[in-house]
Symmetry: C2
Subunit: 348 residues, 2 copies
């Protein structure tokens, strides 16, 4: 069966039939060199007739590139899902294909030897560039890539002093927008369901919240921040602590660092007999596809995923071509999505 595939038509077959050298065929197909219109037409006709397609493996070897871009992403545990993976993949695939590039996806599990895998991919010539996501403070992969001087772009920032190309969403702005919105609704007791302190993304978002709070003249209290992992149950338990307090002491608004946490908060609010949007306002972050269909629909923050994907790849191409991009640390603005889960403060 593979015999059929192996005896594919190659440059020499076309050349023979067209009565030229095979190098000339190559020139015509690459649009290089001086070949008469006549000969060009003849060659093109034979190419059509035989259905010639260049062998990309040979091309890769000769051109010293793989026409492949790696994408590293971290899978969520089984009971969760990544709300942006699908759209992000779609967007980078779309842009890459326009340049005849394809995307190699890598799911790096928790404890595998990341660095070795990363090095291996690069040093065997598997990929020409890399897109990284879910990175953290002091991320060893970023350090490794910088040291190897390998073209990469990361979705997300790490340590401020590290100088490399990234695209990120201004999560601080997102949470500032959300907090300001809740303030205009009359909320003064705002609690946050946050992530552990080692998350750069989490700290950025939190900082935006602090800014808005301070600007409104409300003191920042550590007790109004509840940290935990990014899961529905963490959201549930975190929110429970807040919502079990007497009604004049409990927060009127719960700000989730993610839709996942917000869903947990909504569930416990309902279990405690509170009406969401009236007794307590709840907001999320991500605008996951289902968040608009929750009851009540979730007020949240939307990240421009498509744009992030597009610009990541465009940036990466610039780096791969050796051009130094004028702007290689890009911060995009997220958008407040107002729905039903957050409402005006009623009685107090």
């Amino acid at each position: 069966m593979s015999l059929k595939l192996k005896s594919r038509v190659n440059l020499k077959d076309v050349a023979k039939q067209a009565g030229v050298s095979y190098q000339t065929v190559s020139k015509v197909l690459k649009g290089q060199g001086n070949v008469s219109a006549d000969t060009q037409a003849r060659i093109q006709a034979v190419v059509q007739e035989l259905g010639y397609q260049p062998n990309i493996r040979a091309r890769n070897l000769r051109e010293q590139c793989s026409h492949l871009i790696g994408y590293f992403w971290q899978p969520e545990p089984p009971n969760l899902y990544n709300p942006i993976l699908e759209k992000f993949l779609q967007s980078i695939i779309a842009v890459a294909e326009r340049q005849e590039y394809h995307i190699l996806t890598f799911a790096w599990q928790q404890k595998t030897n990341l660095l070795a895998e990363c090095r291996n991919l690069i040093q065997t010539g598997r990929i020409d560039g890399l897109i990284l996501s879910s990175i953290g403070f002091d991320d060893p992969r970023v350090a490794c890539l910088m040291e190897l001087n390998f073209p990469f772009v990361s979705f997300g920032r790490v340590n401020p002093e590290w100088d490399f190309a990234y695209i990120d969403v201004d999560g601080g702005s997102g949470l500032r927008q959300m907090t300001e919105y809740l303030l205009t609704l009359g909320h003064h007791r705002l609690a946050v369901l946050a992530w552990p302190e080692n998350s750069r993304t989490g700290e950025d978002r939190l900082h935006g919240h602090y800014q808005a709070i301070q600007q409104a003249g409300i003191p920042i209290k550590a007790e109004w921040i509840k940290r935990g992992e990014n899961s529905v149950s963490a959201g549930y338990n975190g929110a429970k602590r807040f919502l079990q307090r007497p009604s004049d002491e409990r927060p009127t608004a719960l700000i989730g660092m993610s839709d996942i946490l917000a869903i947990g908060a909504m569930n416990v609010a309902r279990d405690l007999g509170l009406t969401i949007g009236r007794d307590v306002s709840i907001s999320g972050f991500d605008d996951t596809p289902l968040s608009q269909y929750l009851q009540p629909s979730l007020t949240t923050v939307r990240q421009p995923i498509w744009e992030i994907g597009q610009r990541s790849i465009e940036l990466l191409f610039q780096i791969m071509e050796g051009r130094t991009p004028t702007e290689y640390q890009i911060l995009l603005q997220p958008k407040l999505i107002i729905r039903q889960s957050a409402g005006e403060v009623v009685n107090q």
Copy 2:
């Protein structure tokens, strides 16, 4: 910057340093040929010292393969998401990497020239095998791959008379299990939120429902099947038609062909003031990560995604190696997941 990368150490560098021919180095690394233990050790030492990694592009050309497997999937429209993409990708990546293979992801948009892209990938030697998903009746890609005799495995079946390797979930069994479960809860008026008739998957599932209904001696009525696209709003509107009927005529259970449709049904039930699980039971299909966190949690059917992915790749490897697998049309059983959204029939 790429200069550094291009001057990577190759077989000849190692050979020179070890004082052998470069072909001998190749033999040692591939574990072939007769090389004395002495020489082997010396070569291995140099490989370590220089950090030699074989150039995969050269290997691909020489070995006539790309060590790449394509995965075609169909992205959902922006307001939806694919509940199984992440897990499926993860599972195929994991198995493929064990065999030194990687996964090339392709998102095929609605109206692009699928067939040409498919042919192109194969004929340029981009990939050695293909995994297909979201296929439909008379799928032209399947026909094309069969004609080209190219190794592929599909997740899902198409026309029964087409003979090719696939893995599918026995959706009929899933809906039969669900229907039987609802029957044991005392439901007799069961309505289905189904997909358009051109979906093979949809028809298979529906068939399982019919089987269970018939076995219980309940006549099949076309009016109890409401067809529509796979979206929350289609579920909402479809369910509305059923639930607006007088209480002694309306269905006591709504069976969604997907969790998405079930979510729509849950929303309209709530909007009509019905208590889900008591006034009306609602079930889904997929066990999307969030379904357990809905209020009430969704009774649904879980597909063994991880197993599908694993076995797809294993099957594909067998086909790629030219072995004819004994079992190449595999049907896996889905599992009923009982939660809160479906309960016993109360008053009637």
